[in-house]
């Protein structure tokens, strides 16, 4: 699985994330008694969970949510101004994990400048810039939950773009 350095960054990230699946596939090819079948998918299967309806949201007031399961707390937030990656008709709805990717402390929302702040070691993340760490100790930007809004205004979380603190698989085994 040697990486072609000329491929685009997105492809490279996919390969980094997919290494487990590749190892699993290799193991399945050892002298099969029956026709070989792939063991597992290359990526985890994210659930599509309904978080809220647009009507439930108030601009600037984060709603507590959890995704992909109850052990992974987050916030759902209508910012009021459209942002890159924002969902909904106004392009301003975002959702983030609130476990600091540094040491797992619970982040608190500062309405003044729309950031999430860590009481443990003073890191902060920008809710208007895709969860970019404005300043801090985490070695990744804040995991953002991908959102889909249906015609009824129901908001669904459908995926995560970084590893969530405290789990080595974003979707825990059931």
């Amino acid at each position: 699985m040697k990486c072609n350095r000329l491929v685009d960054a997105g492809r490279r990230q996919f390969l980094r994330g997919g290494i487990v699946g590749a190892a699993g596939a290799a193991a399945a090819t050892v002298l099969p008694a029956e026709q070989a079948k792939a063991q597992a998918l290359a990526r985890v299967e994210y659930p599509a969970n309904r978080l809220a309806n647009i009507a439930d949201l108030v601009v600037g007031e984060p709603m507590d949510i959890a995704y992909p399961d109850s052990e992974s707390p987050g916030i759902l937030l209508k910012l009021g101004d459209a942002v890159d990656g924002g969902a909904g008709p106004d392009g301003d709805i975002v959702a983030y994990s609130v476990l600091c990717p540094h040491k797992g402390w619970l982040l608190s929302y500062s309405a003044g400048d729309k950031t999430l702040n860590c009481p443990g070691h003073y890191s902060r993340f920008d809710c208007e810039a895709g969860g970019q760490q404005t300043w801090g100790h985490a070695t990744q930007n804040l995991p953002q939950f991908e959102l889909r809004v249906d015609d009824n205004g129901d908001i669904f979380a459908t995926g995560v773009d970084e590893l969530i603190y405290g789990r080595l698989s974003n979707v825990l085994e059931s």
Binding site: K2, V44, T139, L163
Partner: protein, 822 residues
């Protein structure tokens, strides 16, 4: 959108994975880590018996857990020629960091070269020689033969002044006792190179001459002292960003549990100030913001007030310090006289009111600082206080006297060698210095950069120093360096089809016409390396066994946990091979006596270099014993080996005997550190001619690791161009906003930066990120140095103009405040 890795799961460390001691090789704190490796086609499982942590990983792990690692802590690397999984994660059992990882160290794994994952493809894999108009890969024998043949033509046993050498002297990174010994034995043992310099300053000298002259080693405390003290005084330092886990794991507990107050001296409001306010309560934090370069006046006024109030430790002064008024006179080698407390006090005397005029700090705050440092408790007990200083004054105005004034404070109040005390630099890299004596270099040391700019030197050997990014007067240095090395490149290009002898003749001819032959040892293609004729690939900590000590003199062995890239070698073994090549060439040339000086490099491993160097004067210290000591290691000096454990020294001078100056009487000296304005040449004029102070320094994200981070997507997503923090009203006057690209220029040079509006920045005082590959701040620093060739990076003034609107890369950045809001 911010950079995201889209990692949805990571391989689990199996229970039987190999475990290696590792110390973060970036900053001086030296946080303990563990490196785990296991075969690529194996993996651990979520059941407790299937993973290294012995816990059920199918469940969520909670705050501060040991059983999690971030994607940045993972990679696939070569080990003994095989691809293996690698996880490098903070060690919860290390007393330095207690499981905390910084944004730098916790990316060590990701910043290793991986052919599988595609990371750090910038790492050098082969020796390269300038041939056919570019660099061509070759063997060590071929490359070192050329280096030795050219070098040999310009050195004689009694005159080696045409060989110029830039060599790191630090630990951590690719430094450490093994590698400083390798280069030290070559250049200070086999040869006596006088024209040399260190990676971050234009001469081969101390950064803290005065502290050492006064008898006080600059690393004299234990980190534990921050939890035992009444007051922490942080001077010209920003430890939350640049000694992160020293701050979080020692200073913060000192404030929270220990109730320590904090005095911070810094013209800029840093994130350290905000964090101290959170940890200690704002009422227990005193932030003094002096006019740039006036720190010395502040310290002298604090000592004056303390003395006038009778808060000095007279018993300590009588027992441990010199009584002679002037023991050492001011001279070319001593920028201030040294002597007794009373004489020094007379020399430095400055009232808080006078200092307020000079520094711009309120008189009441100067008095408050004096009280917080030295006023005894209500019960009469002595106040314990730590002073921690770093580049704000080391690279600031009047280095000798300013540091001397801080050590004066510590000595006068008996705050050195006692629990909860210390006057220490916080440091940059770890330390790892072991070399033959450098007395032949002289004091003041030659001003290397200036000599080179003026046409000095024929051959330049560079060991992991990128002057193009991190020296002063960099615009001029680069112009001249490019011109001189290009002369040699052209001669090499013109020698088409030449034999080795003919090629060396051509190179010699170009050098004698004013050219310069450049040999660059590094781990990556550096910027100065673009001018090199031979490039030699080195390895780093973890790709070799390497020993260093941290800011409390804690010595650890980082074990080799992976292979270096391609043919790359440890610096000590490169130095050894170069020495052997020199010997061979000199012997061939009939110079047998000189050749004999290059005996003694028959090292097969870095451990051989360690035993040949450090171990000879520290016989208790071996690799096996350091391995057993783990990430907690032992604090130097090591005084014995008892019951299977190395015995160290938690803090220096507990007996009140001061030795760093080498005086037999063991008495410390005070510094006659009188205030004398901006000391270095051209600084006052630059201040008069240009509007903006271009204060400069480091960022949390990347500093000791920037050479790797220029090839790290997470880091470059944030600072693709160095930021310059500027007051919003100043920015409005210049017509610039967040993300805009500006040129910073003065009569010494020009560079570029990205605007970052910072409301706490004072008017006309900016702060620019230092050492960036895409905007060298050193371009606008003039050549002014102190009497002992210490550079003054901080006092720099320039003008600013807009170059371009925010680029797509900078426009999407977060430009919000760095100050936590809870």
């Amino acid at each position: 959108m911010a950079y995201k890795r889209f990692t949805d799961r990571l391989p689990i460390i199996p229970a039987d994975a190999e475990e290696h001691n590792a110390v973060c090789h970036y900053c001086i704190v030296g946080c303990g880590y563990k490196a785990y490796t296991w075969p690529l086609n194996r993996q651990g499982g979520t059941a407790p018996e299937q993973n290294k942590f012995g816990v059920d990983l199918s469940e969520q792990q909670y705050q501060d857990t040991d059983a999690w690692y971030a994607p940045s802590m993972y990679n696939v690397v070569k080990k003994d020629g095989q691809d293996v999984h690698l996880v490098i994660k903070p060690d919860v059992d290390c007393v330095v960091n207690a499981g905390l990882g910084s944004i730098r160290g916790a990316r060590m794994a990701e910043n290793r070269r991986s052919d599988v994952m595609g990371t750090q493809q910038q790492r050098l894999t082969d020796p390269l020689v300038w041939r056919y108009g570019t660099w061509q890969p070759t063997t060590w024998d071929d490359a070192l033969d050329l280096v030795a043949r050219v070098t040999a033509r310009f050195v004689e046993a009694d005159d080696e002044d045409q060989l110029y050498v830039s060599m790191f002297d630090h630990g951590g990174s690719a430094g450490g006792y093994e590698n400083t010994w390798g280069t030290g034995k070559l250049y200070f043992g086999s040869m006596k190179i006088r024209n040399c310099r260190i990676h971050n300053r234009p001469a081969y000298n101390s950064e803290v001459h005065s502290s050492r002259d006064m008898g006080v080693d600059e690393l004299n405390y234990a980190y534990e002292d921050y939890t035992l003290t009444d007051t922490v005084m942080i001077v010209g330092a920003n430890p939350l960003e640049t000694q992160t886990n020293l701050f979080l794991n020692h200073m913060v507990p000192g404030m929270q549990g220990g109730g320590a107050r904090v005095v911070i001296v810094d013209p800029r409001r840093t994130v350290t100030v905000r964090a101290c306010e959170e940890a200690a309560g704002a009422e227990n934090v005193l932030h003094l913001q002096p006019n740039s370069g006036t720190d010395l006046a502040l310290f002298n006024a604090i000592l004056t007030h303390i003395a006038d109030q009778g808060w000095v430790d007279t018993d300590f002064i009588a027992a441990s310090t010199i009584r002679n008024a002037q023991e050492i006179a001011q001279s070319e080698t001593h920028p201030a006289a040294l002597g007794s407390f009373e004489a020094a006090l007379e020399a430095i005397r400055l009232s808080p009111a006078e200092a307020a005029e000079i520094t711009g700090i309120a008189e009441a705050d100067i008095i408050k600082a004096a009280e917080w440092y030295a006023k005894p408790h209500d019960d009469g007990a002595r106040r314990k206080a730590v002073i921690a200083y770093e580049k704000g004054i080391i690279w600031g105005n009047d280095n000798y006297r300013t540091i001397g004034a801080l050590v004066n404070l510590g000595l006068a109040c008996g705050n050195i060698g006692r629990e909860g005390g210390g006057v220490c630099r916080l440091g940059g890299h770890q330390e790892g210095y072991y070399r033959p004596g450098d007395g032949h270099v002289g004091r003041p040391a030659p001003y290397f950069d200036q000599l080179l700019i003026n046409g000095g030197g024929a051959v330049h050997h560079i060991w992991a120093c990128d002057h193009y990014k991190t020296t002063l007067n960099a615009s001029r240095f680069k112009r001249e360096y490019n011109r001189r090395t290009n002369m040699v490149k052209e001669a090499m290009d013109n020698a088409i089809g030449a034999t080795r002898e003919e090629l060396v003749d051509a190179i010699e001819g170009a050098i004698r016409a004013g050219g310069l032959f450049s040999v660059n040892v590094d781990i990556i293609h550096s910027q100065i390396g673009q001018a090199a004729h031979v490039i030699l690939p080195a390895v780093e900590s973890g790709e070799m066994n390497l020993t260093s000590m941290n800011g409390e003199r804690r010595l650890r062995l980082t074990e080799k946990y992976m292979d270096g890239p391609g043919q790359a070698l440890p610096d000590c073994l490169i130095a050894a091979r170069l020495a052997q090549a020199m010997q061979r060439v000199l012997t061939e040339g009939g110079r047998a006596d000189y050749a004999a000086q290059f005996d003694g490099y028959d090292w097969q491993s870095e451990e051989d270099a360690f035993m040949d160097g450090f171990n000879t004067s520290h016989p208790d210290v071996t690799y096996d014993r350091l391995r057993a000591a783990g990430t907690n290691g032992v604090q130097e000096p090591v005084v014995g080996y008892e019951n299977g454990v190395l015995v160290g020294t938690p803090r220096l001078y507990t007996d009140g005997v001061f030795t760093r100056h080498g005086r037999e009487d063991g008495k410390a000296l005070f510094c006659h550190a009188a205030w004398r304005g901006l000391q270095a040449a051209g600084k006052a004029q630059q201040r008069a001619n240009h509007r903006f102070l271009i204060n400069n320094g480091r960022s949390n994200l990347n500093w000791q690791n920037w050479f790797l981070d220029q090839d790290n997507d997470f880091a470059m997503d944030r600072w693709s161009v160095p930021f310059i923090q500027i007051n919003p009203e100043d920015a409005a006057e210049l017509g610039v906003g967040n993300g805009d690209l500006v040129e910073v220029y003065n009569t010494d040079g020009a560079t570029q930066a990205m605007v970052y509006l910072e409301p706490t920045a004072r008017r006309n005082e900016t702060f620019m990120l230092f050492g960036a590959p895409s905007g060298t701040q050193g371009n606008v620093i003039n050549g002014g140095v102190n009497e002992l060739m210490l550079p003054n990076y901080k006092q720099t003034w320039a003008d600013i103009r807009k170059i371009a609107d925010a680029s797509p890369a900078t426009r999407r950045q977060s430009f919000k405040s760095w100050e936590v809001e809870l």
